[in-house]
Symmetry: C2
Subunit: 214 residues, 2 copies
DNA sequence: CATACATACCGTATAAATCCCGTATTTTAT
DNA sequence: ATAAAATACGGGATTTATACGGTATGTATG
C-alpha cells in the first residue's frame, strides 16, 4: 500500500513535476493536486474523492494561502497529515503553519532523497522535524511572540498604514476624522512599541516587520 | 535526436523534479543541472561536458543570479539558447534577462504541455514569445526606461539608503561628511525625481521601486 | 463605589524638515 | 578656452514633527 499524497502549489510546473517525482518513489502515489486552496477544498469535498494520507501545502499562494488552507484541513480533515512546503527558511509563517496544524515544514531546496525519507517519517510517526535543515525554531517562536505582544490596536494599525505614505500628520488626522493630538498619541505609542525615534524609522520598522505592506 | 537541455535553479526539489518531467517529454533530454550560476560555470567548463541546446535559468538565485549567469552564457557560449524561468510576471528583471541575451521568458506557473511547445519553438526558431502568458512587455520596458532615466547618482543613492533609516538629516550629513545644505540638495533632487513631497514618501518610493532594500 | 485603564483631546515648546534665496568650485561639453 | 552643468555649501523663513504636561470621558473590574 503506497502513501497517498496530495499537493497544493500555485506554480503548475512545480506542482506537476513534483507529482511526477513523488510517483517515481517506490512507496508514494499522488492522488490529488490543486493550484490553490480553493481548488483543493473543491476537489476534496467532491463525492468519491479519495483522501490523501499526507497533504503538501505551499505557504505562499495568492487567494486562500497556506495558513488558511492548513487550518481548514486540520479542522475538516484531521486525519490528513498536513506538511508545509516553502521556498525559504526565513519565512515568517513557519510558526503560523505549525500552529495551523502542520506536522512538518519542508523546504523546496531539500533533495529528493530527503523528501522521500521525510514523507515516510510523516506517514509512520505523524511528524517530521528537519534538524538537518537549519530552521531555528526557537528564534522564530520568540520573534512571533514579540510581534504578538506588541499588541497594536486597530486604530494604530490604520494610522500606521497612513504613516507609511506621503501624507502629513494633519492630513492623516483629517482622513481618520480625529484631532492632530489624538494621532499624536498613536505615534508616541507606536514609537515606543517599535522602538524608533522618527516617523521614517516607524515606517521602516512597520514594513520590515510586515505590519504594513506597500 | 532529442533537444539537450540544461537547468539552473537553487531549489533542488524543483530542479530535480523538473528534470524528471523534461526527460518524460518525447523530444527532450536534460544533460546538465546546477543549483547556482557558479555551479553551472564549473560544470560547463569541465572537460568532456556536452553543451546543451537550451539552458533554463532561474532568475532569483542567491550568489550569481540569473542576469549575471545569462550574460556569462551569452558571451562564452553564444550557441546555447538561454531562457529565463521565473516565478512571477511582475518580476522586474524580465527586461534585464532579455537584455542579457535570453531568447524567452517562461513562467513557473505555465502548464507542462505549453512548456514542451515552448522548448520546441525555442529550439527551432531560436526564440519564444508567450503571448498567451500575460506578460506586458511594453509596460515593463517603459517601467525600466523610466527607472533608468531617473539617473540617480551614487551620492544620491547613498543618501537614499540613509534616508530610509531612523537618522536625522544632521546625522546623515555627519555620516556622509557633507554639509546639511548639500544633502538638502540631494533631498530636493530626489523629491523631484521620485515625485514625492516628504521624506517618508521618499523612503516609501525608494523601497517600492527597489532602489533601496531593507 | 472607587480605581484603573484606554481613548480622545488641548496648549505649548523645541527640534527637524522643507523651501527659497544665493554663491563658489569642479566637471563636462562644445 | 569658455559656456553649461553638476556639485557643494550658506543664511534664514516657514511648516511639520516631536516631546511633555495636563484634562475629560467611557468602560471594565474588584
Amino acid at each position: 500500500m503506497k502513501i497517498k499524497i496530495g499537493i497544493v502549489d500555485d506554480h503548475q510546473l512545480f506542482l506537476k513535476s513534483l507529482a511526477l517525482m513523488l510517483n517515481s518513489f517506490d512507496n508514494c502515489e499522488v492522488i490529488l493536486d490543486a493550484l490553490s486552496g480553493a481548488e483543493l477544498q473543491q476537489k476534496l469535498t467532491a463525492p468519491n474523492q479519495e483522501q490523501p494520507d499526507i497533504m503538501l501545502l505551499d505557504v505562499n499562494m495568492p487567494g486562500t494561502d497556506g495558513v488558511v488552507t492548513a487550518k481548514w484541513l486540520h479542522t475538516n480533515y484531521p486525519a490528513i497529515k498536513v506538511s508545509a512546503l516553502s521556498m525559504n527558511d526565513s519565512d515568517k509563517s513557519i510558526i503560523s503553519m505549525l500552529q495551523a496544524g502542520c506536522c512538518a515544514y519542508l523546504l523546496k531546496d531539500m533533495n529528493p532523497t530527503d523528501l522521500e525519507t521525510a514523507l515516510e517519517e510523516i506517514y509512520k510517526k505523524g511528524y517530521y522535524n528537519a534538524d538537518a535543515s537549519n530552521i531555528n525554531f526557537r528564534r522564530l517562536i520568540i520573534a512571533k511572540q514579540e510581534e504578538e505582544k506588541l499588541n497594536i490596536t486597530e486604530k494604530e494599525q490604520r494610522f500606521l498604514q497612513y504613516a507609511c505614505s506621503d501624507m502629513t500628520y494633519k492630513q492623516i488626522a483629517g482622513e481618520m476624522n480625529l484631532s492632530e493630538r489624538t494621532i499624536d498619541g498613536y505615534r508616541e505609542a507606536l514609537f515606543a512599541k517599535l522602538n524608533v525615534q522618527s516617523r521614517v524609522g516607524l515606517a521602516m520598522e512597520a514594513i520590515r516587520r510586515g505590519i504594513v505592506r506597500i
